[in-house]
Amino acid sequence: MLFNSLGFILFFLPLTLFIWFRLKRRDDKFLFLTLASLFFYGYWDYRFVSLMLVSIFIDYWCGVKISKAKLKGQISKSKHWMLGSVISNLTILGVFKYYDFFIDSLTIIFAENTIATYRLDIILPVGISFYTFQSMSYSIDLYRNDATKVRNLLHFSAYVSMFPQLIAGPIVRYKEIASQFSNNTFSLSYSRLYEGFTFFIIGLFKKLVVADYFAQYSDLYFNEVIEPNFISSWIGAFSYAFQIFFDFSAYSEMAVGIGLMLGFNFPKNFNRPYIAKSFSDFWRRWHITLSEFLRDNLYIPLGGNKNGKINTYFNIFITMLLGGLWHGASSLFLIWGALHGFYLLIERAIKPSFEGINKYFYSILVFLLVCIAWVFFRSTNIDFAFLTIKAMFAQPLIWFELGSYKAIGLDFPLVFRFAGGLKHIFIVFAMMFSIWFIPSTYNLINKFSSKVGAIILGLIFGYLILIIQKPSPFIYFQF
């Protein structure tokens, strides 16, 4: 079920909220939330509900064992249970997400087609990367004494399966939400409900109006262009950069909104990433919950920046590489991760000499290099990604060709209409300009707290209901 579908907005969400607020006992609420979330997940493919239940039971069981071992002072035993939880989750992830990629890679490396017969051809369960990370964060946080043991299985299943952020984050770590399970925010509060609605509607607007608009062009570019040129390649890359930002941040904000309606506070996942002052700043603003997860559970355990320059560079690179791989089992994601690792290394290595550079210039440079990395993230094959990069830099401008189109009756503006249109090019540049001025959703929320704000919000909601016809899935569903 998609957040941007009429079924979710007009039926599932109101009904869930109604029952949630009618239930009095906390355990009843969590049982209902688990059931509603499993229905929400199973609506996509009921077969994979059992996989999530397996993940829930394993981590709950490991959590019980870790707590017992800790009580008895058996640190190494608790570590074994924590590792058991991590290995189990990574195994599920490995089999369902990476196994076929591994087999394909072996087939290519050894040039032996018989290896390919070992492929499993399993459909990737939607949201598996998110809920496995979320589920194992419980065992890790328990082991590190960052959180206390969950009260019962109901609380834990509600935490892992919680439908608002189940499919595409934000990745809510157990320690961030543990205390909320025992607070008193689960009864009906109009102010929280209104704030949640506002978040949800702003997110819906970002998805339906902005992300889906840019998707039209980026889909055309990445799916249909055979010979990219200078204009179409840059406009394609910019369009995808805006599409993925508005698409993903829309989902996160809708999740935050639904969380607020129910009485939970989910962490912030985006903070105007395209105005980042540096690459490290970009990763503090983009998919914040994943960055923090990888920092705390991969970069720091690897040694962080404590063992000299070379080790630090190695740790950064490995973290970004695996971060890329987390998005999908494909060499394109690996290249994307490696490219970001490379950006961070270079930045760290030569930063001192950058100090004299204008900060706005550097910020624009960061944005452009991030857009170039998106080309690998979005392309359907490596050849096209490199063709695009080549067109962005090595191809001459195509202005001189325009005359010949005019000769056959295609006039100048028409050619631009074919390139997505002058309007589209203008919108891309307008968006590049406006990202510096559009406030983050967290600052925008207050504008809708007055009566006029409420009227405007109602009109926006009406408009959004009109334009929902066939909802398009969120990009991060595939991860």
Partner: protein, 367 residues
């Protein structure tokens, strides 16, 4: 305070939605709620306006041309001169077998004894497997037939509830609202150049108006002096470079025939047979350069050959089918490669040549 915010929120939401519904029903861009008064694009209501035209003029039609926009330049006068039958061109945009089925049932109901001859100009995509889901079938923007209740009622699966539900559901949709606003502006500032009266003659023939004039692509009128092949080649070159550039007509890029549509056509032939209506079938051409692309990228040749065999089988079963002529290649009727206006539709010159090629093969006194 927050509670009253909710009231303002829901209040403005409801007022907005009600306004949209009211405007959509008043403007009625797809003629979903009867003929609209301010004029709308013919492609949205050609089934309705052509059938109203047909009815208003009490033509007592004895012969009709049926087909897609490709058949809109076949003049009824050719039939009148040759066979002395009153004729009408009932070609509709993006025709499918369902359109033929409903239109013929409608004509037979209106003029039960008059109809003597149906001249089908068939494109293979009239029988294409459709990916429309149940909602789309009843959505006037996607299926123009559904905007005319007295035609749609002949469709299989028709029931009044589904029909009415779809009709009013689309009133709460942006595409209809966008069209409504477009209609209001168009009619306020200039007459609708593509409304029915500007596109069709009284006999149902399409006037010499080309779609591409809207896109600043001039010189595609049907004088045959424009180099259509060169134009199409450039469009394909552009397609490789610019997204969305010069896309060829998508109708031909389908893979399978729909069994349902084939069966419906067979049923239609039986109905015509029972009513003693004679049938001539002309398989329509594609512009040769486009055809070479379509042949390369799809199973076009296989499809046309299947269609010809299947129609010949039908001919053996039904005595009222007088002739099946495969004019899918212009060589078959000595046509001209540049006589395709909009780079797609046969001009009246190519249409006449097709008609004459059929006359040559038609047995004497067949009609």
């Amino acid at each position: 305070m927050v509670k009253s915010n909710f009231r303002f929120f829901f209040g403005s939401f409801l007022v907005f939605i009600s306004l949209v519904v009211a405007i959509n029903i008043w403007v009625n861009p797809y003629s979903f709620y009867g003929l609209n008064s301010i004029g709308n694009p013919v492609t949205h209501n050609d089934r309705l306006s052509k059938s109203v035209f047909f009815e208003n003029h009490k033509l007592e039609t004895e012969a009709i041309f049926l087909g897609s926009s490709n058949s809109m330049r076949f003049y009824p006068e050719w039939i009148e001169d040759e066979f002395n039958l009153k004729a009408y061109n009932f070609g509709v945009f993006q025709a499918s077998v369902e359109d033929f089925y409903c239109l013929i049932n409608y004509i037979l109901e209106k003029n039960p004894n008059d109809l003597k001859l149906v001249f089908f100009n068939l494109d293979d995509w009239n029988f294409a497997q459709s990916e429309q889901n149940s909602f789309d079938i009843w959505h006037p923007a996607n299926n123009r037939l559904s905007s005319v209740e007295y035609l749609a009622k002949y469709l299989r699966g028709y029931n009044l509830f589904t029909y009415k539900l779809a009709k009013y559901k689309t009133a709460i949709s942006y595409d209809q609202f966008g069209e409504s606003i477009n209609n209001i502006f168009q009619s306020a500032f200039k007459p609708y150049i593509i409304s029915t009266q500007n596109v069709f003659h009284e006999n149902g023939v399409r006037k010499n108006y080309t779609n591409r004039d809207r896109e600043n692509v001039t010189q595609l009128a049907e004088d045959g002096n424009y180099n259509v092949t060169e134009y199409l080649k450039k469009r394909i070159e552009l397609l490789k470079t610019f997204p969305g550039a010069g896309k060829l007509e998508s109708h031909e890029f389908f893979k399978e025939f729909s069994n349902q549509r084939l069966e419906l056509f067979e049923e239609l032939i039986s109905i015509l047979n029972e009513n003693d209506v004679k049938i001539i079938i002309n398989i329509m051409p594609i512009q040769p350069y486009e055809q070479s692309i379509v042949e390369k990228e799809t199973n076009y040749l296989e499809r046309v050959s299947f269609m010809e065999n299947w129609l010949n089988n039908l001919k053996e079963q039904h005595r009222n089918i007088l002739l099946i002529k495969n004019n899918s290649k212009i060589e078959n009727f000595n046509g001209y490669e540049n006589h395709f206006f909009d780079a797609i539709h046969p001009t009246s010159v190519n249409s006449k040549l097709m008609f004459e090629s059929i006359l040559k093969e038609l047995p004497k006194d067949a009609i």
